[in-house]
């Protein structure tokens, strides 16, 4: 019942935004922007790239919203844009060989995830070490996944999206999304086996 009323509210909001109501557009953005930013940030591991994706996604939504005809759900449409932009970015990085988790520093190669500030990192060195090791391993295996496997795993495991929605967002069947997830989880399982 609540979900149905939320859907109606969202429709109203979209229609208002299509009529040019800036408040409605802002509300619409706020309903999704945390998830969009989290997804981009976790996929690309870069605040700058995540910020670019955020801007590009919502600017595309803004520009194309008047042409949105409710043929699919708004979230499907939105995540299709997010997925395409993130996939492009991951592929670009692969081409530029930026995808390596390691970066050069004066003291040698260091994992780029170590540059992501960790909250309360000063509290427990052992905990930090373990957490960093897990993050490094996750990053390594994510890097070994194909861009599509990576995005499917991100959407299912971290964003909690259903396979059907993931398939719709990526323009593939639910079965194809399921196969991607299966391959991704097999690789993750093998990589994280030592930590469990």
């Amino acid at each position: 019942m609540r979900r149905a009323s939320q859907r109606t509210d969202e429709k109203e909001l979209i229609r208002a935004a299509q009529r040019g109501d800036p408040d409605a557009f802002e509300q619409l953005v706020r309903s999704y922007d945390q998830n969009v930013l989290r997804m981009a940030f976790n996929l690309l591991h870069s605040e700058e790239d995540a910020r670019d994706i955020y801007q590009e996604v919502f600017l595309r939504v803004f520009r194309n919203l008047p042409r949105f005809r409710f043929e699919c759900s708004f979230s499907t449409w939105l995540y299709r844009i997010v997925a395409n932009l993130c996939l492009d970015q991951i592929r670009k990085r692969k081409v530029r060989k930026e995808s390596s988790p390691a970066v050069e520093t004066p003291s040698g190669e260091v994992d780029r995830l170590q540059f992501i500030p960790e909250r309360r990192a000063d509290v427990d060195p052992q905990r930090q070490l373990m957490s960093t090791e897990v993050k490094i391993r996750i990053n390594e295996v994510l890097d070994e996944l194909t861009p599509r496997e990576r995005i499917v795993f991100q959407m299912r495991h971290f964003q909690g999206m259903r396979l059907r929605a993931i398939g719709e967002a990526l323009g593939v069947t639910e079965e194809a999304a399921k196969n991607c997830l299966f391959r991704a989880t097999q690789k993750m399982r093998a990589a994280l086996g030592d930590f469990v």
Binding site: N42, R162, L181
Partner: protein, 318 residues
């Protein structure tokens, strides 16, 4: 289902992506198969480990993105509106072209004058074209996105009576000690949509006394879905750390919060480092329980151990 079939389906099972019959079959098999039970436990464990690879989005980054987007859209939107009006098209027959800045300035001033005069006129005389002698004037105030329609009743002569509830924006200023400001901040702390707002309210209320603030902070640490907001609320709760209600909430966080950083903050407030500790049997029992059940944080376990050791409490059952 065979063991192999079960083992390859475990991830999909944990994601809830198996259909009902497959799920039933898998559960039946696992219930009677020790090997698959071990595989399931392992599967759950790596799923949990993988969660530690997810980074929370810094709230500052979210705020920054929103501001940038708003700025870009305001500029772009203004441009789009100008194009849409295409004043040049209808001004050209009057000999005005876009090339001359003086003409643009004159036209802009004229439009401002028209806008100002008509706004004043409508303000006094009602909306032009109102079929019921100005009764629908208030429509100009309605914002469809913030208006909630409560009731619609068709009337005579094509009239419709719509009961609309609308939230109007206004700016309020004052100090956090002002009652009205305080109430607004407490309400914002429970805002379900925007973690940035919740963090800001907690930050402003930090250092404010009163059970209303304490209770709101307790609600936040217990229920807020965002770990960053819970952490902020825990910081603000430090000043109330001797209250029983606060200590109960901290124990709850220690036992139930899914985020290891939040649990670490809670143990630091409950049993501050290098301070004389006043540990009740109840708290000792909680710490013992956490020693047994803490899933991932060595820090929390180590601190529990240290506290129990400091008060000479046994490590198993109190």
């Amino acid at each position: 289902m065979t063991c192999h079939q079960v083992q390859v389906s475990l991830s999909l099972y944990l994601y809830g992506e198996l259909d009902f019959a497959q799920e039933e079959a898998l559960e039946r098999h696992v219930a009677g198969c020790a090997l698959c039970q071990r595989f399931l436990a392992r599967e759950k464990a790596w799923h949990t480990s993988a969660n530690s690879g997810v980074s929370d989005v810094p709230i500052d980054l979210l705020m920054q993105c929103r501001q940038e987007l708003r700025a870009t859209i305001t500029q772009g939107g203004a441009k789009r509106k100008t194009n849409h009006l295409s004043w040049v098209t209808w001004a050209e027959p009057f000999g005005m072209t876009a090339g001359r800045w003086s003409v643009r300035l004159a036209l802009a001033s004229f439009l401002v004058f028209i806008g100002f005069t008509s706004a004043r006129w409508f303000g006094r005389n009602g909306f032009m074209g109102s079929i019921d002698g100005g009764k629908t004037n208030n429509m100009s105030l309605l914002n469809p996105s913030s208006a909630h329609i409560r009731d619609i009743r068709p009337g005579n002569n094509h009239q419709v009576r719509i009961l609309v509830q609308q939230v109007n924006e206004r700016e309020v200023t004052g100090t956090p000690e002002d009652d009205s400001i305080r109430r607004l901040l407490l309400a914002a702390m429970q805002d379900t949509d925007d973690p940035g707002l919740r963090v800001d309210s907690v930050e402003v209320l930090q250092g404010q006394g009163g059970t209303d603030v304490r209770d709101a902070l307790i609600r936040t640490v217990r229920r807020d879905p965002n770990a960053a907001v819970r952490l902020k609320a825990l910081e603000a709760l430090r000043q109330f750390s001797s209250d029983t209600a606060t200590r109960d909430a901290l124990k709850f966080v220690l036992q139930h919060d899914e985020n290891a950083d939040v649990r670490s903050e809670a143990i630091d407030i409950l049993a501050p480092l290098n301070q004389k500790l006043d540990i009740t049997p109840d708290l000792a029992a909680t710490l013992q329980e956490i020693m047994r059940s803490e899933p991932e944080s060595d820090y929390v376990r180590a601190r529990c151990l240290q506290v129990l050791h400091d008060v000479n409490a046994p490590l198993n059952v109190y």
